[in-house]
Structures are given as structure tokens and as C-alpha cells.
């Protein structure tokens, strides 16, 4: 039985109304959105289609990555799978329980690490863990030693009795991981867990996540860092505009990346008139124009740059910036979505 299965999952948010009645306006789980009738997508009222018939299957014990730019639908997917967002249509099963009709059972089986640390600031660090365990019916006599062990494992045991506000962002994120694990969930969800962390803290979090995976847990992580998805995940789903574009192992995805190096050039004018001339350049596999941006896939690396510049200038535009990317998840992503992640 898969750890997670979604069928034709769809979420449509109503168009933002004029005067905002609700506060925050943050990511979907905090929104007070009413369910929309199916088929309302792209309607005249400007509803937002966050998920458009998403089918996913996450295997038991898998480290699964959801990769996509901001607004791709990652957080909505996590919101639905963690019972905090109601799908407009379609179904999702987590740990054998339906997110809609069996949300209590789903919650019992999952741990969630949010995008921004949201510890209970009225409690100290260890109280955060012991109370969270109590919300899952676990008595303090069982949760106290486990909390200590988790704090130890995550390298924040010296902060056990500290106020949450005395911790750095990275330490708070570790506390969130400890909290997500205190009740021994089958599936752990991490929503952009390393955003805003310095490179060193990010690396150490990667180590922690690898360890959790090695312990046999199912992990679902959203990220918009290619490297993170590449290094950690067993399989990656690339999503954009609420749809699944690719789903495979990082290796298979990279092989599927369009051949050659991606050369991106910013031009002084419209890139479209240049496309034909550039396509004729030796070594150019593919050319795309997007406004003043020219994307050239080359099988001769950077050696195409000089003739491409020449071709551009012959068409009356000059090149203002150049960047090269080796074939990677990133080049695949750009070729599939027409945009970069960041």
C-alpha cells in the first residue's frame, strides 16, 4: 500500500474579494476559503486554480520531493495531505486514511514541519514537545525521555529549558522537526524546510533528514532548491501551475533534461526576431525566446556564445548578460515550465 495516493486532486480558491475581511492573507492553510464548485477554474470571476487534477503516489519509506516555483501548488498539496485544506474535488489517502472523511486518523499518522517555524512561544522548548505529544494522547512519562532523545539527536539539548525566542532560526527549525517526530508519525511532511537558513545550517539539516530517511520513514518535502531535491530525494515530482509535469528519480529526470548546456542571454531588445538566425548556428540544439530573454540549448557548451552574439547583433540587438547551466534538473525544469525556479 502506498504511503500517500492522490487522485485527480483539485483545489480552486475563490477570487480575492475587494475589501479583505480575513486577516493575514498568507498561504492556503491559513485561508478561510470556501470550497468552490468543480469546473469553476478559469471562470469569469478570476478564481485561483492552485491544484489542477494532481495524481501522485508516494511509496512507503520513500523520500519524496515536490519541486516547483512559488505558486506551483506545493503548499496547497501539503495543506490537503495534512488535512488543513479541503480539496475542491478529487481524493487523497495518507497512511490508508482519507484526508476528508478520516482526517482524525490521518492526523494521527503524520508529522508536519511548517514553512516558517511556528513553535508555541508561550511554552519553553521541551514543553513544546511534551504538550505536542499530549495532544496525541501520549503521557508525559513516555514523551519526556523521547523529547530529550530528540533534542539530543537534533543537537539542541542545551536549549531544552530555554524560551523559544532565545533560539536561532535554524534551532527553531530543528525544534519543529523534533515536534513533528515526537508522536512517531508514519509520514513526515516538510514544507520548504531550509528556506532562510544559512548554508551551514542547511547542510546540517540535510544530514538530519537523511538520517530520518535511513530510519525508514516516509518523507515528503517541498522545495524550490534543485540541489536539495537532487541530493535528498528518491523521487521528485516537478509541479507547476497546479499540475504534475514530471515524476521520476533525480537520475532519470536529469537524463531526460534536454541535451546540452543551457545558455541564457538577456538582450537589449525583443528576442524573437533573433531566433531563426541563432538556430542556424553550429552546435545549437534548440532556441526559445521569451521577451528579451533568449534560451539556447547547446551541445558544444559555451563555444556557441560568440556566434550567437554575432547573430544577435546582426539582427540589431546586443547581449547584456549571459549565464550557463549544465544539463541538470534545472535545465529540465526550465524547458518544461518556461521559467526558472528562483
Amino acid at each position: 500500500m502506498p504511503a500517500i495516493e492522490t487522485r485527480s486532486l483539485r483545489k480552486v480558491y475563490p477570487a480575492p474579494s475587494g475589501p479583505k475581511r480575513r486577516g493575514g492573507g498568507g498561504p492556503p492553510p491559513g485561508m478561510g476559503a470556501a470550497p468552490m464548485p468543480p469546473g469553476a477554474a478559469g471562470g469569469p470571476r478570476g478564481e485561483i486554480v492552485a491544484l489542477d487534477r494532481l495524481d501522485l503516489e508516494v511509496r512507503d519509506g520513500e523520500f519524496f520531493g515536490l519541486l516547483g516555483p512559488n505558486g506551483a501548488g506545493k503548499t496547497t498539496t501539503i495543506g490537503i495531505l495534512t488535512t488543513r485544506v479541503k480539496p475542491t474535488s478529487g481524493s487523497a489517502v495518507v497512511g490508508g486514511a482519507d484526508v476528508g472523511s478520516q482526517s482524525v486518523q490521518v492526523r494521527q499518522r503524520i508529522g508536519v514541519v511548517p514553512q516558517r517555524p511556528n513553535p508555541d512561544r508561550s511554552l519553553n522548548v521541551i514543553e513544546n514537545l511534551i504538550f505536542h505529544a499530549a495532544y496525541f494522547g501520549i503521557h508525559a512519562s513516555a514523551s519526556q525521555p523521547r523529547a530529550n532523545q530528540l533534542l539530543e539527536q537534533l543537537g539542541i539539548s542545551d536549549k531544552a529549558y530555554a524560551k523559544v525566542d532565545e533560539m536561532s532560526g535554524g534551532q527553531q527549525q530543528r525544534l519543529m522537526i523534533a515536534r513533528a517526530l515526537i508522536h512517531e508519525p508514519q509520514v513526515i511532511f516538510l514544507d520548504e524546510p531550509t528556506v532562510g537558513l544559512d548554508p551551514q545550517t542547511r547542510l546540517s539539516l540535510w544530514g538530519i533528514l537523511r538520517q530520518l530517511h535511513a530510519e525508514g520513514r516516509t518523507i515528503v518535502m517541498t522545495t524550490h532548491y534543485m540541489e536539495e531535491a537532487d541530493k535528498l530525494c528518491d523521487r521528485i515530482a516537478i509541479v507547476d501551475r497546479g499540475q504534475l509535469l514530471e515524476l521520476d528519480t533525480p537520475e532519470a529526470l536529469k537524463q531526460r533534461a534536454p541535451g546540452g548546456t543551457l545558455v541564457e542571454m538577456s538582450l537589449s531588445g525583443d528576442a524573437r526576431p533573433v531566433v531563426d538566425a541563432v538556430r542556424a548556428v553550429d552546435g545549437v540544439l534548440r532556441v526559445e525566446a521569451q521577451g528579451q530573454l533568449l534560451r539556447v540549448f547547446s551541445d558544444r557548451g559555451g563555444r556557441v556564445i560568440s556566434p550567437v552574439i554575432q547573430a544577435a547583433e546582426e539582427n540589431g540587438v546586443s547581449v547584456t548578460n549571459i549565464s550557463l547551466t549544465e544539463p541538470s534538473l534545472e535545465t529540465l525544469f526550465v524547458s518544461r515550465t518556461g521559467r526558472k525556479l528562483d
Partner: protein, 267 residues
């Protein structure tokens, strides 16, 4: 690995409810001084001015204190019950998102809201119990004040605190954080001043229009109920009427509060 080694199946809702309540009691205990200052300062200042200074100056008769004390207790109860639910809700859903750890608890979402309302009721009762001896101390002996109707008193306190705690849940989840100041000036302030807290409802016989207009204000029933239970000699609304009105008010705010909480919790 066995992922559910220490997790009982299924989790008992009552055990989660009491864990949530323990959390709120723990937090309230840490902040009790701030809480009492925040919620009882207004009624206590009122006690000093209207229960002590004005009678001293002979601007109001001695009998006024008898009518005032139950009203002051009603204000303390209601105001602190509203605030102790509404303010954390506005913060939690507005920006801190701290409540999310509780929203992941394996119980129906409504139970989490119900616990918040119960915690608000407790805080309302504590505030009223804190104000009573101080008010008595400031005002001196109050003629006609009695604890002989304990049953009625408990009923009024329970229904009144539930009505206002649930109102706090509704306001706290339905109002945008930027407008929380408006809640005090547009909803709370008129509720206090037209709530028959500082004068008995029967006193409005002098202004019949007001007498019937204020009936939309739930505070009226708490204040009149307190009078009926604590100072029965002061002319007051019949306790049966108060009881029925408070049941209706509490049930309505409970329903609205639950619905609004659920809407904020589940997108």
C-alpha cells in the same frame, strides 16, 4: 520500523481536550498578573470612581453601590472571557500561526475550538472572583448583598461566561487583525455602557425606548442575572427570563464561533 510504537489507538478525545486545557492553564498561570491587570483594570477603576468617590461626594446614593456591584462583576466576567479568547485567536490566525500545532491534534477541529471557549470561561470566572473582594473592600459593606442563591449564581456565571467566551471566539476568528482596535470601540464599549452594568435595567423605565433597545445586548442578561442572584432586593429582570435569554445567546455565539473557527482552521 514500527512507526506507532508509543501512540495509543485511537487517541481518546477527552485526553486531548484536557491536554489542550492544561496547556492553556499553564500559559494563563505564567501570565496571570498581566491578564488580571488587562481585564480587571477597567471595572476596578469604575469601582473606585462610582462605588467609592461619587458616594463619598454624595453625588450618588448609597443604594447605587448595591446595583453597581453585580454589574461590575458581570463586566469583569464578560470582558475577560471575550478577551482571553479573541486576542489569542487574532494573533494565532493572523500572524504567529502558533495554533497550528494544536490543529494537527488527532481530534475533530471543533473540539479544539470548544476547549478554547472553556479556557475563556475559566478566565472569565477567575477575573470576576478576583474583582469581587477588591470591590467589596473599596466600596465597604453593601446592603442587600447575599450569597444565598448559589445555584442561580453558578448558572448565570456559567451561561454568561460561555456566551462571552464564544463571542470572543467568533470575533477573534472573524475580524481582521488590523481591525481589532475597532472591535473595542465599536462592539465592546457600547456593550459595556448599554449593558445595564452600571445601572439596573428597571431603571430604564424612565427611558422606555432604551429599555427595549438594550435587550439586543447580551451583557444586559449577565448583569441582570447577577443582580437577581447576588442583590435580589434591587429590582431586576426575572431570573427565568435571564436564563432563557442566556441559553439562546450562548448557543448562538457558540454556533457562530465554531463555524468561524473551522473556516479559519481548514482552508
Amino acid at each position: 520500523m514500527t512507526a506507532t510504537a508509543i501512540l495509543p489507538h485511537p487517541v481518546r478525545a477527552s485526553s486531548v481536550f484536557f491536554a489542550l486545557l492544561r496547556r492553556d492553564v499553564r500559559v494563563a498561570r505564567k501570565e496571570i498578573a498581566f491578564f488580571l491587570v488587562r481585564t480587571t483594570m477597567q471595572p476596578l477603576l469604575f469601582v473606585i470612581v462610582f462605588g467609592y468617590l461619587l458616594p463619598k461626594m454624595n453625588f450618588v446614593g448609597r443604594g447605587y453601590q448595591t446595583a453597581l456591584l453585580p454589574g461590575i462583576l458581570a463586566v469583569s466576567l464578560s470582558l475577560s472571557a471575550i478577551q482571553s479568547v479573541a486576542l489569542p485567536m487574532v494573533q494565532d490566525f493572523g500572524w504567529t500561526k502558533e495554533i497550528e500545532d494544536r490543529l494537527l491534534a488527532p481530534v475533530p477541529t471543533q473540539l479544539i475550538a470548544a476547549e478554547k471557549i472553556v479556557a475563556g470561561m475559566l478566565q472569565g470566572v477567575i477575573a470576576a472572583a478576583f474583582v469581587l473582594p477588591i470591590a467589596r473592600l473599596v466600596m465597604g459593606p453593601i446592603s442587600g448583598f447575599t450569597f444565598s442563591h448559589v445555584g442561580e449564581l453558578i448558572l448565570i456565571v456559567l451561561l454568561g461566561s460561555m456566551a462571552f467566551s464564544a463571542l470572543g471566539m467568533w470575533l477573534g476568528t472573524a475580524i481582521a487583525p488590523q481591525q481589532i482596535g475597532l472591535m473595542f470601540s465599536v462592539i465592546i464599549a457600547p456593550m459595556l455602557f448599554f449593558g445595564c452594568a452600571y445601572y439596573p435595567w428597571r431603571g430604564l423605565d424612565a427611558v422606555p425606548v432604551m429599555k427595549y433597545l438594550v435587550l439586543v445586548n447580551p451583557m444586559v442578561y449577565v448583569a441582570e442575572g447577577m443582580r437577581g442572584a447576588l442583590t435580589p432586593d434591587v429590582p431586576h429582570m426575572p431570573l427565568a427570563v435571564v436564563g432563557v435569554a442566556l441559553v439562546i445567546v450562548a448557543a448562538s455565539f457558540w454556533t457562530l464561533g465554531m463555524r468561524s473557527f473551522y473556516k479559519r482552521a481548514i482552508g
